[in-house]
Assembly symmetry: C2
Homo-oligomer: 771 residues x 2
């Protein structure tokens, strides 16, 4: 057998195993004629993309063997789950991860049965699949994941199969431009393989139907050197693909040596469902959308379909591929690289295995000095920027800061004292902070930011995504998928813990007064809290020191999605570093200096969560102390939102006893929240004091106006909070009624001032805690 | 003045008005030297993109005048709010819409003051801006909106300025391919103008820094014929841009005549912040990112900045542009087209003005016959497909069905009996249902589906977006922005009502058992309910007839976002058409045949919302009736989710009295919900009976398994519901305890059966209501 014959055997074996997974319960090696009871009762799975994925994998193995190439495989058409399972079984990795699925006839039967079967494995490339960093359920992210994996991995090649359906998505269309952010000298190489099998679910694909000259220009326009491999005769395609891969990997070697050439990419044009049934029921199947899922169903009870299936399976000549015990024959095993060189067993694809902890500076060294609470101001994200600068300096090859062109806008600019923005395109003399070795990845695409970071984390590195709060919704669905990945990994012991995905949401709803209504949306938190409590954490530090403490904690954590919401505008410094650490460790606590209920039960609880709501709550507490000094007010700040949930719903949830002692069970609670108010009700509806809980928050009122006007539009302002207290605490009497009127008047006056002068009154802007 | 001089004057005037909006409170015509009190206290706005937007607008006006061209203008760089306000004021439209902002010195002062000012107008192109269909806050959707506007508008040209920042986003990168879905014979023409001013917020842009040859290939690869206009000398650019536009519009005329040529597009390369300050504080401003927002701030109290600003404003020579009363001079007015030909006054950009109601067939004609409830099955979306087929047939030029290649998968294939999928690329003999006149737009990009439909609706047409439920999250942020647009329009009387944006979410969470965990996410409802109650509606019809009734209602509605969740798999038919109409009109109601509490207070309320949860609830009710016949059970179905909210929170909300009489205030309520259970708590936490409410729903448990196993994984199955009832109704005694044990046993048996046989037990699959 020459090497192309070995490749063909590997390919046939993988195809055979793929069809087997979709159809067979038993009789895996066709030792007897197929009968109904060998067939699964529900036929589920996707065949169409599978032979293409198998073909590429087999050919890449030859390259790995010949060049000792470190390589991982990203399968964009994730519906090709049967393929990824098949080739990891052929490589032995599957049986190493799942010993019960042994590499023999017994294991093969198990392999077939478990696929898309209750209690078995999912039908897509998934966390359960060895060698994968890419869940193929939702399409569009393969190429961004591939680039993320390649960054800072200079010896790695990431082969990325892009399906032509997936190629129609926005995120994928933008991902081609990732090559402007990859430095071949210090990063690995991404090899995109655009697989044009012509169809998506029920339609032809755009890129398969434009003239080839146009497609080549598109790829050249994206900055690649395209190589076309097309055909439907296996022998010819094997020859052509092998030759092309030799050329491509020579080009990659030249690029690694500094040739400066564009990255190569391959356009592979082969039939959808290749080697499957040519037609069924008189209609063409191979080469059409009809082979997308199961080419023909209802096999049980239809002898002619049973025969068709058997013919199809036997067309791969399984007797040549597997020995008497069902093990792959030597010729196939000869195409399997050793140990970690196997793409299905490459440690980069199980990033936790090679994760190095960050070398973190002591966050306390960046603290703002706070002698008296709430008398000085800081811009929290600017303070954080200095910490992040040194995180970057300490970890020059395994930490990335990503964001959609907002790092400076979010006031993290200190990072540019130690690094630059990654930029491999043209640089002009007037440019600042651009360079090929920059650790900051900025592109005006939240999808790319998220996709790159996911790829980076999944291959064992660390990072932080900073974004405007409103526009993080752009990646809601990517967050969902990553959270689901992490959730699934909790049941997969061989997936080692990876660094958490950390979001810093700044330029938030309360200080988008200059950008207006479109930039005001705190609803990402609602999306996050929908996911499993075991993987999501939400923090709203109220000032600079608490932000430092929270950020340090998040950077040390594993396997979570951490969401930090923190403003960039000046806010009051509330706590010394020591106090901040205690407060953040507890996640919630009383602010004693703002409360006057010492040693007694409060008349009212003012709770707050988020920096701007906290300031307004403090100002309300001060007004109450001034005007109704006999009223006992307890002020509570919440940093860790998940503390509010019951402990059986979230591991951070506090006990009912603790909740009751903090919030009381019978006193009015006015909770001033950063986000949509109903999120708080959703977290607390089971608490005893819930019927006393009144939540203020963003209620979708906004425009371009002043910060305090924004607060007033949504009733989270200090004056309204005082009115809320007076409305809810019984028996306050005449003085309180007067105060209520005064508050209403001051609101009106503030609004009038704002509309006249275009700015907030100075007493609002300059307010600090009165001592 | 020749025409280029007129264009230059218009441009200078628009630039002057733009700078004035950003900086000035008073002294709009510079009749006296600038003083501090003429300057706004907070300087907000975006200058960088503004001169480019003004330039293109002025030049397009010449084309409109010379060719009597029907044209609208989509400003992708939405931060160019000052530009859009400026040129609509110059065209007189602004003063027609807002008479208090008259076209004279007094009005100009008002125009300046109101911009980004409390109580004034937003800083972006927004619903308030005449002539706009595109809110520019979140970037990436301009080109998709432009194509949506062009579909079925054969005489229209949609000029679409694409910012080079925006061009980095995924949705925009995919949008270029929209040309494969546009038929020049029956659609209008989109003219993309890629404005390369080189920078986004703080970074250069990718497309401005790749070699021009690469950029040209990219555009040719996308299927366009690019024309480059570049320069920084106004005269030269005017000449070149005018000549290029003549060429381009000749090409468009040829295309309209059937030339078959590619669509032209323009690459315009001019400096960011062109004509603004060259430098400030020793650093370059014009032509760099420093001109992105306000080129220099803190003007008050800094005389040298005041002088700089005055020089800048005077550089436009306002005395030549505005007459003694502050009106634009005749030379400028001569460049303004008449009435509806003005891009700022074109009725296509205020779609409600030209909206024609749909000619709807009688949905009752498509009803499934239901003699006895819950004894026969239908696939709801397949039934709906026949209705939609005739909606399409009746409305051949103003209704579009869009979806990401899932129309057939979602079983709406009946539409292909009357129409095709739009497809202007190559068609092969094996293809089905493809053609240039198809009314179904399918592309594997939810972003394009949403963007096209938004553009189509905003220009006065109708449509429906069908999608897999989980992946509609991909457009969460686009939904947010459209809902905000609709919300803002409620305060803008001249914006006439447009057709609602209708979502049909099928292939939903409960029947993604074959695709698995990644395809299981019902959280879009949580996102939708965050938006203003006045613009969102959510329906979960439990069967085919209720789906028909709901769909008819949604297609008739205006100014809403309607979300319909309905399955494609067979479900029980519950209601005759007459019953369905009554039930949907009420939005919630008792299913009398499934209840046995007639004339008495129930012991327990079983509520359900969504098709699969409803079936499980019915099965639970039947089990209870069989085994505990003395237990009085009331079964309630909820179609209109918003009925659950208090009436002060949502116009559909039912009164407390109604809620209490349906749900009781003291009996256990087990509510089986389609989505995440906490959404129900969020909607009902103020109700009296809330403490008795126990909600089941999707709790993020799933994989590739059988439908009933999915139900069991999340405890929404019939057996678990019976157990819930027994756990919550006091005093049921020994028989109930035995029943509880039997239910637990049957769950285990079902699970065991499933894992063994790979399918649900027949008694589950074939269950109907026992009579």
């Amino acid at each position: 057998m020459d090497v192309l014959e070995r490749i063909d055997a590997f390919w046939r074996a993988a195809n055979y195993l793929s069809v087997g997974q979709i159809y067979l319960l038993d009789n895996p090696l066709l030792r007897e004629p197929l009968r109904d009871e060998h067939i699964k009762p529900r036929l589920l799975g996707h065949w169409g993309t599978t032979p293409g994925l198998n073909l590429i994998f087999a050919h890449l193995n030859r390259i790995i063997l010949e060049r000792d190439q470190d390589m991982i495989y990203v399968a964009g058409p994730g519906h090709g789950g049967p393929a990824a399972v098949a080739f990891s079984w052929l490589e032995g990795t599957y049986s190493e991860r799942y010993p019960e699925v042994s590499q023999d006839a017994r294991g093969m039967k198990r392999l077939f049965r478990q696929f898309s079967f209750p209690g078995g494995v999912p039908s897509h490339v998934a966390p359960e699949t060895p060698g994968s960093i890419h869940e193929g359920g939702e399409l569009g992210y393969s190429l961004a994941h591939a680039y993320g994996a390649a960054f800072d991995n200079p010896d790695l090649v990431v082969a990325c199969v892009v399906g032509d359906g997936e190629a129609e998505t926005g995120p994928l269309a933008a991902s081609w431009h990732s090559n402007k952010f990859l430095n071949p000298a210090r990063d690995g190489i991404v090899l995109p393989i655009l697989h044009l099998n012509g169809y998506k679910i029920a339609n032809p694909t755009v890129l398969a139907r434009i003239p080839e000259a146009e497609l080549l220009k598109l790829m050249e326009g994206y900055g690649y050197r395209p190589h076309v491999v097309a055909g439907d005769d296996p022998k010819a395609v094997h020859r052509l693909l092998a030759d092309t891969l030799d050329t491509v990997f020579d080009e990659i070697a030249a690029i690694k040596s500094g040739s400066g050439d564009p990255l190569p990419m391959i356009i592979l044009r082969t039939p959808k469902g290749w080697t499957g049934p040519k037609e069924f029921d008189g209609l063409p199947v191979e080469g059409t959308w009809r082979s997308h899922q199961v080419p023909f169903g209802a096999v049980r009870g239809h002898p002619e379909r049973l025969r068709l299936l058997e013919e199809w399976l036997r067309s791969y000549r399984p007797e040549e591929l597997f020995d008497a015990d069902g093990r792959p024959v030597d010729e196939i095993r000869a195409l399997v690289p050793r140990g970690p060189r196997r793409m299905s067993g490459n440690p980069h694809a199980n990033g936790g295995e090679i994760l190095r902890p960050l070398v973190l500076p002591d966050f306390r060294d960046y603290a703002v000095e706070v002698k008296e609470p709430a008398t000085t101001h800081s811009e929290p994200t600017r303070v954080l920027g200095a910490f992040l600068r040194d995180v970057i300096a300490n970890n020059p090859d395994n930490f990335r800061l990503v964001g959609p062109d907002e790092t400076a806008s979010n006031r993290l600019s200190a990072v540019f004292e130690t690094t630059q923005r990654t930029w491999d395109a043209e640089v002009l003399p007037t440019d600042e902070n651009l360079g090929p070795d920059g650790r900051v990845l900025e592109v005006l695409s939240e999808h790319l930011c998220q996709g790159w970071l996911e790829g980076y984390l999944l291959t064992g590195r660390h990072g932080l995504f900073n974004s405007y709060e409103a526009f993080i919704h752009i990646v809601d669905s990517m967050f969902n998928q990553h959270a689901k990945w992490l959730d699934a990994c909790q049941d997969i012991p061989w997936r080692r813990p990876i660094a958490s995905l950390n979001y810093l949401l700044s330029s938030h709803v309360w200080r988008q007064d200059h950008n207006g209504f479109t930039h005001q949306d705190p609803g990402f938190l609602d999306i996050v809290v929908n996911k499993k409590a075991s993987v999501v954490r939400v923090y709203l530090p109220p000032d600079a020191n608490t932000l430092l403490s929270v950020a340090d904690h998040c950077l040390r954590s594993r396997n979570y999605v951490n969401v930090i919401v923190a403003g960039k505008q000046p806010v009051l410094n509330l706590m010394s570093m020591d106090e901040a650490i205690i407060h953040c460790t507890r996640g919630i606590g009383i602010l004693p200096w703002a409360s006057n209920d010492a040693g007694a039960k409060p008349d009212v609880v003012l709770a707050c969560c988020g920096d701007v709501p906290t300031q307004e709550t403090l100002a309300a507490a001060a007004l109450l102390r001034e005007h109704l000094p006999e009223l006992k007010v307890r002020v509570i700040n919440i940093v860790d939102l998940m503390r509010l949930q019951p402990p059986e719903e979230h591991p951070h949830g506090m006990s009912d006893a603790e909740f009751d002692s903090l919030f009381t069970v019978d006193r009015p609670i006015i909770l001033n929240f950063h986000g949509y108010p109903w999120l708080i009700h959703r977290l607390t509806y089971r608490r005893r004091g819930h019927h006393n809980l009144h939540v203020r928050g963003y209620k979708e009122e906004g425009t371009t106006t002043t910060p305090f006007d924004m607060a007033m539009l949504n009733d989270i302002d200090r004056y309204h909070l005082v009115m809320d207290v007076i409305d809810r605490v019984p028996g306050l009497g005449e003085r309180a009624a007067h105060l209520r009127q005064e508050m209403a008047d001051r609101r009106l006056a503030a609004r009038r001032y704002t509309r006249e002068h275009g700015d907030d009154p100075a007493e609002i802007r300059d307010w600090t805690w009165p001592y």
